[in-house]
Symmetry: C2
Subunit: 523 residues, 2 copies
Amino acid sequence: MGISAVSARPARYGWPRLCRLLGSCATRRPHGPAPAAVRPGRALHTARPRRQEVPLTCERYGLRRLPFSRLSRADVAFFEGLMPGRARTDPEELRAFNVDWLKAARGCSELLLKPKTAAEVSRVLRYCHERNLAVSPQGGNTGLVGGSVPVFDEIILSTALMSEIISFDPVSGILVCQAGCVLEKLNEYLGERGFVMPLDLGAKGSCHIGGNVATNAGGLRLLRYGSLRGTVLGLEVVLADGTVLDCLASLRKDNTGYDLKQLFIGSEGTLGVITAVSILCPQKPKAVNLAFLGCQDFSRVQETFTTCRAMLGEILSAYEFMDEKCMELVVKHLGLSNPLRGSPFYVLIETSGSDSTHDEEKLNSFLEQATTSGLVTDGTVAALWSLRERITEALTHDGCVYKYDISLPVGKLYDLVTDMRARLGHSAKNVVGYGHVGDGNLHLNITAESYSHSLLDAIEPFVYEWTARYNGSISAEHGLGFKKKQFIQYSKPREAIFLMQRFKAMLDPKGILNPYKTLPSSP
Amino acid sequence: MGISAVSARPARYGWPRLCRLLGSCATRRPHGPAPAAVRPGRALHTARPRRQEVPLTCERYGLRRLPFSRLSRADVAFFEGLMPGRARTDPEELRAFNVDWLKAARGCSELLLKPKTAAEVSRVLRYCHERNLAVSPQGGNTGLVGGSVPVFDEIILSTALMSEIISFDPVSGILVCQAGCVLEKLNEYLGERGFVMPLDLGAKGSCHIGGNVATNAGGLRLLRYGSLRGTVLGLEVVLADGTVLDCLASLRKDNTGYDLKQLFIGSEGTLGVITAVSILCPQKPKAVNLAFLGCQDFSRVQETFTTCRAMLGEILSAYEFMDEKCMELVVKHLGLSNPLRGSPFYVLIETSGSDSTHDEEKLNSFLEQATTSGLVTDGTVAALWSLRERITEALTHDGCVYKYDISLPVGKLYDLVTDMRARLGHSAKNVVGYGHVGDGNLHLNITAESYSHSLLDAIEPFVYEWTARYNGSISAEHGLGFKKKQFIQYSKPREAIFLMQRFKAMLDPKGILNPYKTLPSSP
């Protein structure tokens, strides 16, 4: 059986409700590449002003600590001997590593380890396994579901000093690097060589590639380059008992046995610690074009997508939509101007290709077709990513925000917004929808003047039940982490959850790796 | 511990040698889309002339049967009750299902089951699990490594009658279908709707999509659309004990827990029986162009690849090479004519895009650049796939063929051919190399007038050791099946093999699913 992470329920609220409390009203992070000023950076960790202390997760939820060993002086001495100067115990230094990016979860770890090699990670885990010490692996600590910080006093195992590029082959485009490489740095490194990373995220300035892989990050380039399931070619992983699993192949094709690395992609540090990554990188596109369009209804948004995909074909790299409420908020709160006449829906299209003349011709043909046929009522070709990117920011100015990141069949994508709006009526201030049409990924956001239990009860579990009814996913790209682990059953059948728990029990029998995360507590 | 499949070694030859015997001289199947006349089809199964009987695998290898139950009359009665008319015991009918496509492996199963639903597969496996009856799952039976036929008397579980298309969404391009759908039929179905399957194989006329996924088939479209790891979105799998695992999501993004389906992709039927597949299908390209070029050395083949990828970018869909020996054999044995002056290397480039004018412009610019810079000495734009496709056929006319399907870092791709040629000298008739430069996939072929032990000993294990030295894969796309399972250690570390064995033991504790396959016998 898997871990039984949280057996004590808090006195006042049931576990699901508390999960929901944490899951809402705290997500104030722009999706997509954020403007430089609000982009998460390491400076946030080291130079944050002391504001109100984030409540300890364990206290907020009234959780019971699992029976792991307590860190002893001898333990600290062991780690100091193993990595002199890189076993940190200064509470002030640990503060930033104990709190998540959203300031919604806080652990009370007393030890931060910064290994430089897989061999060091192996020795750390072997020791922790023998001593029954819990470990919270941490990359750039930019996750949105509380998965990257301790819940209690787990030792924080940071990949911050594992930032070496091991190799890059410009013929194949295959990059091999340590897990702690920052995504943006890798992208810069590749950019100088005519390549790009196959993924891009708002958190790129801080997030580590190991963390990206451990959480199976999606992001902005998924429509074009596919998921990490296809682009990650190999991993080096250290298992809970210290075994180093070297599956760091840098081959596009390898059919020798089960593809073990896949189990670690998206396992959120609960099955092993990723120490190095081999990844296939596409060429840097030579030409990038944008178009911003207005549509009269969501069926036209969909039809425009199919038309555009057919006409732009291989150069289509993004197809994002937002509803008029989103536009209103961006205009109202951020002072951006809507370049189009008012439309119920707006669409942002990006092309990336190898020939600017060809790409512009394709885009113009499509725009002519879309306008002539009435799919699109208005449009402009301009650099308008900011309208789309800053929706999240605008939402945070609108009050308390209840945020959901949902996958649905494309045809049902906007129905959830419509149904939710009808359901909530005047109890919500705004119910807005935007997202990646091409990926079937909806960002549903509900705002209110202030937090209210009754509004939350009207939203949940309705939103999860609705999503489950249409075979959607309650977490498209953010993972389950600490906040959503109790809701997995809305997207996965009982048999699958049971099998996941068996894998966990097999690979980490003592449950020391990132406890209280990803899999639901036992009933 | 995993299965201990073959514990008895044959008297005369060691196991590795016998594996090699089976692995060589039998592969006479064209790679890539074969000409219609030699394309594998179902007719091969039903109307094959009675030639020399293929030796029983168990006798040929002196194998010891694992202690599974023997099929009883009561068992047959049970299955006949479960699926009237679809539990077949006629030896004549079973003959084709007992022999593999290469006529190199033969089992002696006495029962063929043809379920129509996952529920039937579940009832079959639950019964077999309880009764300790071994099962050999079978798709189109087109595999090249002996993985799709019984080794002893395993019950053959065919997906032949599970051929329904469940749904297709033309907005997202997501197809959901039963495992027994024939690849070519799916492609035709999609073609009528403006889409294509993301994979293409020479065996497309017979192979089942379930078998493709179970073996993680690569094929001709991998360079463009990536592997099944990225395009397969969901699976329905029946586990050894009959549990139905419904992970048939049709979503591009879903980060709720571990991605269990990945473990079954490429597991060759040893961990579960795939009963349905959800797969992301790309649009059908509107324009396809070809170019056939001559290069003076392999470094120019590589440099031409990087130039071509940079200039053709998103429309490049194939980059295949062949050496002059391949060309000589195609000319000599098949009477095809070489449209170019003699060159040491030839390259076939394919583009697939959405605008023929744009694509031709790009191709012409590239060709001008490649010729001007001396990368390419000669070239023609013509439909010349047959020269590349018929190499395998030409080789079979050259004598006994020793065939290897190897992945290597692109820079080392041809060195193996050069080294092998130097090593073998006059003991081989021809040593030729061709393959997919873009995928790092080399087809190394060695011909001789007749089979010889001493030649085989000169090739193996040298070829595997050489591949391992450069971190290559000894099976790029064919899998391990029965023939190559004992060589896995050349491509995977001990820790990984051990972990695979633990997964096998966990999911199939009695080892009833496709025994004697994929994982090595215990030492």
